[in-house]
């Protein structure tokens, strides 16, 4: 199979121009054709009469808010969901829906790569690529042959990933490449990338785009699902917008711009993404001096006042997350001081941090932010349980429900009952609950670690206006984000970290993309010191 890869390699040259991206091959026979697909779950119509076509060499962006039906459509295509009505054609042949399964879609050459990994973390990259497709030499596995083939694929993708160490020791971006390599090995014709880049840094996303280009030239069709509209505009040839399970529009990417796309996605126009930043500051709420964590960050100084938002920028390996966790008492500190409200404090665990009025909105909503077995009420009141006591001993469920209700209503949460499990809520709604947790706890300092990761555009803007609202109430916000635009639009001051050190602090006129990017890459290290 991989011999074919070798043949292709000769023809492929790095092509930085985006000419191929703009070419839409309408005349080619479609790889996938979905006709009038309707998907009904009990009580919900997830897809309503949606049609979708993918041709070879096309990168088709699938966009829409959370719950718009993007993932459901992808699942229908790979056979994980069985559509209620409609037809699917793969390579021009109609699929018998009653027996369609993931197994069959795989044998037809449809592969899906999720943001969450489907790799075996203790096995090496090589083993992961070949799992289920081992090369045999008699009764034994032919490792030598596999190594040669893997090197061929890596060459083809023009990537350099160490395949001989367990994948858990690879960077996130490298693990994604292993997944892509697996799809290449299986000679997939259709590749579905579902929120692949949600956890990647910009540099790595560029690399993924480059690989997508290579795959497109090989005649693969790619379905690209992402919340980041810039990526859709950068990398896709065509787009399809879904909203509430309905097909809104399909067109050619170069014919539209971002505002138009946003308008289609949320069904309204957003006049202003970022509101004016609050300039009305109070006293210093949090100050960190010379904070050092073992094998992580070094000599961190930062401060934030009431009504202020500070940003922390940094690439992977900048130890931003470790830094906020350290302030929250969840990461070791070897040196340095933390002052809250002007008083020096020793924070040994999150419990103490919470008592001091600090709240953490962690980057991993599902594993760190929420208890997936809990309902909305219990999740919202988890840090504040001690406040709702009857006779100092028993939990006052009614009072808890009332408080949870009030805060969640303020956040415009979409839900049917406070006793509803949080698992089924969309990412944006889940994030609102995580934030509501700390509002209910009356926290003063909000540490937000990538609060808009993996949530849709509409919900993103709501989070932005929420941050704005918090500052008006005199709260302080520490915002960690991989999106520079977000940092510039929301923060009074941005601290830029590089490999655990603060490289630069920008505010006012210096707060521009260029300055931040240079510091992110560690370029003006000497200049700033």
């Amino acid at each position: 199979m991989v011999v074919a890869v070798g043949k292709h390699m000769d023809n492929i040259h790095m092509n930085t121009e985006k000419t191929s991206r703009q070419r839409v091959a309408k005349e080619k026979r479609p790889l996938i054709e979905v006709k009038n697909c309707t998907m009904e779950f009990p009580g919900v119509t997830a897809l309503d009469d949606v049609s979708f076509t993918l041709v070879p060499g096309e990168c088709h962006g699938l966009v829409g808010e959370n719950g718009a039906g993007k993932s459901t459509l992808a699942k229908c295509i790979i056979g994980e969901n069985r559509m209620t009505k409609g037809k699917i054609f793969v390579n021009g042949e109609e699929i018998k829906l009653s027996s369609y399964s993931i197994r069959e879609s795989q044998s037809l050459g449809i592969a899906i790569v999720h943001q969450e990994f489907q790799l075996m973390s203790d096995m090496t990259g090589l083993e992961n690529i070949f799992v289920g497709h081992y090369e045999n030499k008699g009764p034994f596995i032919d490792w030598k042959e596999m190594r040669i083939k893997a090197a061929g694929i890596m060459d083809f993708l023009q990537c350099d990933v160490n395949l001989n160490i367990p994948v858990k020791r690879l960077r996130t971006a490298e693990r994604q490449i292993v997944q892509l390599a697996k799809a290449v090995l299986n000679e997939s014709k259709v590749l579905i990338l579902d929120e692949l880049t949600a956890v990647l840094q910009e540099k790595d996303i560029e690399n993924i785009f480059r690989i997508i280009d290579i795959l497109k030239k090989r005649g693969m069709g790619i379905i690209y699902i992402s919340h980041r509209l810039d990526e859709i505009l950068d990398c896709c040839d065509t787009y399809t917008v879904l909203c509430d399970g309905k097909h809104i529009n399909t067109g050619i990417v170069k014919d539209i711009d971002k505002p138009q796309l946003i308008k289609m996605i949320i069904g309204r126009e957003l006049k202003q993404v970022y509101m004016p930043i609050n300039q009305n500051f109070g006293e210093k709420l949090l100050e960190v001096k010379g904070l050092t964590g073992p094998n992580a960050f070094r000599d961190i100084d930062l401060e934030v006042r009431r009504g202020e938002v500070i940003g922390i920028a940094g690439l992977l390996g900048a130890f931003k997350t470790e830094l906020v966790h350290a302030v929250f008492g969840n990461h070791k500190i070897t040196k340095g001081k933390i002052f809250v409200n002007g008083k020096e404090v020793k924070i040994k665990n999150p419990k103490q941090a919470i008592k001091l009025g600090i709240g953490l909105v962690p980057d991993e909503r599902r594993t760190l932010g929420l208890d997936m077995l809990f309902d909305i009420k219990d999740n919202t009141t988890l840090p504040s349980m001690q406040r709702f006591k009857k006779w100092k001993l028993f939990q006052d469920h009614q009072a808890e429900a009332k408080a949870a209700y009030e805060h969640n209503e303020k956040m415009d949460l979409t839900y049917t009952s406070l006793w509803q499990n949080v698992k089924k809520l969309s990412g944006g709604n889940q994030q609102k609950i995580v934030i509501a947790k700390w509002m209910l706890r009356d926290s003063d300092i909000f540490l937000m670690d990538e609060p808009t990761r993996g949530i849709d555009v509409g919900a993103k803007f709501e989070v932005y206006s929420l941050i704005n609202e918090l500052t008006k109430q005199g709260k302080a916000v520490v915002l960690v984000s991989p999106e520079l635009e977000e940092l510039i639009g929301l923060c009074n001051r941005v601290y830029i970290m590089f490999e655990g050190e603060i490289m630069d602090v920008v505010e006012g006129e210096r707060k521009t993309q260029e300055v931040i990017i240079n510091s992110l890459l560690g370029i003006n290290k000497n200049e700033s010191k």
């Binding site: 999150p350 419990k351 988890l382 939990q395 006793w419 509803q420 089924k424």
Partner: protein
């Protein structure tokens, strides 16, 4: 007014429909059906005497199961309960008979011993970062070794007659153990549903990291679950000892399997975070009713083991296939 109505609407339970209601109460429904069927078909089963007997037999094992419930709820497992039962039984008799201490002092001492064992279990898991299965397997064998060294494997009989009341006494027509079980179950129900420590057990079992980041002292909660388990197991062991009025190291043999079955029957998720005390009590009654019926019909012990095994497998299969996402 309108605001109030909206709140009422959103604070309604079981808004997810009757399916989730049924799933929550499946074990109770099955239990009722079982009891009705047995009562209609067997005239021996439905006598007051027999029913009270079933309740009495279920009560102490239910108390032990409620202890195990907390450990499983927090996502761990305690394999050492059968050894704790043997330890409590033999040392209690040792203190009360051989050393001649007053019964209440002996009770205090064995309770203290169990709590220490529970703490050691919890500390090994939390601070030693050992998988609970291994840690408690180790304590299980160590304790076993200790009580065999102490007693040489021989029972110690001759406990005072008055102590018999704990295991075999009656209040009116109701056996005392049943009343004890109901009181403990009620208290634990209040703890799980209406106190913050109770909810912390669920939180820790559901998502340890998220709980920690929400300010819950997860180390304390995990250890406390083990301590609670050991203490409740000790109460159960005392009751079982009181029945025969002799300390016996073999008292806990084979109980672990029944306890696990009961906890799972009661709808407790083995991965933690889900389950209810009421479920555990019903689970205990369920298993006892089946054992009782098998005895009445004259099925021998070995066949009973097979049947109980099949029940456990069936329940776990149903649970893992109907799990709500």
């Amino acid at each position: 007014m309108n605001q109030n109505n909206a709140f009422k609407l959103k604070s309604k339970r079981y808004s997810e429909g009757w399916v989730s209601f049924l799933q929550d109460w499946m074990i109770l429904i099955l239990f009722v059906i079982l009891v009705v069927v047995f009562s209609l078909t067997s005239s021996t089963f439905r006598t007051t005497n027999n029913i009270m007997n079933v309740l009495r037999q279920a009560s102490f094992i239910a108390i032990v199961a409620m202890g195990e419930f907390f450990v499983i709820l927090t996502g761990n497992m305690d394999m050492s309960i059968s050894s704790i039962i043997g330890m409590v039984s033999i040392f209690f008799a040792g203190f009360a008979v051989t050393m001649g201490l007053p019964v209440w002092v002996a009770i205090m001492l064995v309770m203290l011993m169990s709590i220490v064992v529970g703490y050691v279990n919890g500390a090994l898991v939390v601070h030693g970062k050992m998988p609970s299965f291994i840690a408690t397997l180790v304590t299980m064998n160590v304790i076993k070794g200790i009580y065999f060294i102490y007693s040489g494997g021989l029972p110690i009989s001759g406990l005072p007659e008055s102590f018999n009341f704990l295991g075999a006494g009656y209040v009116g027509v109701v056996p005392f153990p049943v009343i004890l079980m109901v009181i403990i179950a009620f208290l634990l129900y209040i703890v799980t549903q209406h106190t913050s420590i109770g909810r912390s057990f669920y939180a820790v079992g559901g998502n340890m990291e998220a709980s920690k980041l929400s300010g819950i002292n997860t180390n304390f909660v995990s250890i406390f679950a083990f301590v609670l388990c050991a203490a409740l197991t000790a109460i159960g062991a005392l009751g079982l000892t009181a029945k025969t009025l002799s300390g016996n190291v073999m008292l806990g043999e084979g109980l672990l399997f029944d306890v696990m079955t009961i906890v799972v029957l009661g709808g407790t998720s083995l991965s933690g975070g889900r389950g209810r005390i009421v479920g555990v009590v019903i689970g205990a009654l369920f298993l006892q009713v089946i054992s009782n019926m098998m005895v009445l019909v004259g099925i021998n012990t070995f066949v009973q083991w097979v049947v109980k095994g099949v029940i456990l497998v069936a329940v776990v299969l149903i649970d893992s296939n109907t799990k709500r996402d």
